[in-house]
Symmetry: C2
Subunit: 327 residues, 2 copies
Amino acid sequence: MATIKQVAKRANVSVATVSRVMNNNGYVSAEAREAVERAIAELDYAPNRVARSLFTKTSGLIGLIMPDITNPFFPQLARAIEDVANQHGYQVVLCNTDEQLAKEQSYLVALQTMHVDGLIITTNHSDNPNYEKLEVPMVALDRIVKSGIDAVISDGYEGGRLAAETLLNCGATRLAHIGGPEQLQTVKRRTDGFLDVAGDRLVGMTHSSFTFKEALTAAQTLFDEHWPFDGLFAANDVIAAAVLQEAVRRNVRVPQDLQVIGYDGIELGEMTSPPLTTISQPIYEMGRRATERLLDLIEKKDTVTKEILLPVTLTERQTTIRKGHDT
Amino acid sequence: MATIKQVAKRANVSVATVSRVMNNNGYVSAEAREAVERAIAELDYAPNRVARSLFTKTSGLIGLIMPDITNPFFPQLARAIEDVANQHGYQVVLCNTDEQLAKEQSYLVALQTMHVDGLIITTNHSDNPNYEKLEVPMVALDRIVKSGIDAVISDGYEGGRLAAETLLNCGATRLAHIGGPEQLQTVKRRTDGFLDVAGDRLVGMTHSSFTFKEALTAAQTLFDEHWPFDGLFAANDVIAAAVLQEAVRRNVRVPQDLQVIGYDGIELGEMTSPPLTTISQPIYEMGRRATERLLDLIEKKDTVTKEILLPVTLTERQTTIRKGHDT
DNA sequence: ACTTGATATGTAACCGGTTACACATTATGA
DNA sequence: TCATAATGTGTAACCGGTTACATATCAAGT
């Protein structure tokens, strides 16, 4: 790789002049500019970002801290983040923490020492001193966060309500629910919303992690202990898929005997049989907004901490019975 | 953040001594070492990786170039890569290229100027000059690659054969196939293997991209034009899921009327109804091996170009009829 | 006692950029 | 015409590490 010095020599100017044309600042004569540009082209020069970083204290890097990219909710988020970061000339560093504070900590120091310009964090530990003492701009994503950290989330409570209302509207009378991991505030809100509308029409409820395997045993438990019910709301689409599978195993027909609503709106919901009715979060949009917000923070366009709350929508597929069409 | 100079002053030594204790090389007296360590602890010092990078020309960064993290095959790969990279003190930079050469190019220069230590590439364009002229160690993953680039792939041809043999063993006599994108060599081999065993028992075949939507229309076409068939091999699990969904729409019972085998072994296969029999690639293992290989290359442990071919296995679930159990 | 090698430490150059500052030249306005 | 501002360019300091090299001390070997 050519260096700025080589370019300077070839163009018969000083490194300062080369730097000026690269960054388009300061005064440069037309001839000098042309000579430099020719030299750059001839040498196929691209400035060393490490060197630039050292001086400017910016890296063009964004740290992305999420529990597990393997969880089907996160790839879309990551994609959105990477897309907009890239459009603005930033690269993203991927970190999987499995929600473990120790891992987060070690990533945090690694990212800090490489001078990332900002952080997008999907963590429950944002109130941890490790985060608080960081002077790096950051925004929390899909997580409710204690103090003065920016956040973008979607309206889980309303999503829960919407699920219950939909089930009720579709004629369900005996409701069931499988909630998510209880320490996830953002997931708990879905349950809260659902429960508030369901009231005493709730006949059974349990909890599960977001792994399919656990979801399957949770579904089995629910069927074993609380059947019959005719409307079920799952805290995410993976759990809903498990319910669907368990339903066919038990010859419970969906949606005739049991209507099911999932949560998230990931692609998996299209692939089940029948395709899953679900409460869709605007996942890509969430990633996009979080990144745009972070970029604003980095460029100091805005310093007032904000929480961005995005609306959810009902995606009606075939695990509920359409009213008005009266299938 | 504290700098090495501050540490040096506090410990009453020179920066060289601090550097020596940090890197554990050169001679350092016990007292000096202790003083430095105390100063480091007191100041919470961590060396600036950017500065170190500039001198050493290593960054601790690995570039991960893949088409689209949103495609459910890739998150596991990314996770494996990130896991082993992290275990060795490296961070990974995520790049989504959508298979577009222009995007790859722009990522390549970005990654190069930030001095990534290595590259894992999932691309069809490895024979492009952009890659060839790079002096960065790299390994291709899940892609067949022209010249002297290391690669790790799994045995697609054998996987295709295995799929056909399994279907035949399970009593299928009229075989169908939905192939993947034709420019993907690694996917084409699955088709080749399948076709070689199927021979003239093949009654119908079509192609599809790996998006669920397209797969669904491909499945419809196949049913429309070539039904009946009783054994189907799909080039990946997403396509297989589409076939399953289309089958229930047409009241075709799986596996009684039609047996289906997918390919990849992603988690989606567990979530369909019925759960999908599939040819499993050792996805995590592939990512792991690729990264370990890359790390060896980076550390110059080995310079002979290698192709690592990993075996695939049959994961028997419920879209095929178990022989010997005669369900 | 003197050479030699091991131990210990500091100074300064270097990595490849950016930019403050000095200096020179040219244009502008009174 | 002369002061002043705008334009153009180079030198060198700086960012925060690493390490070659110089220098010094001390123990061991002859």
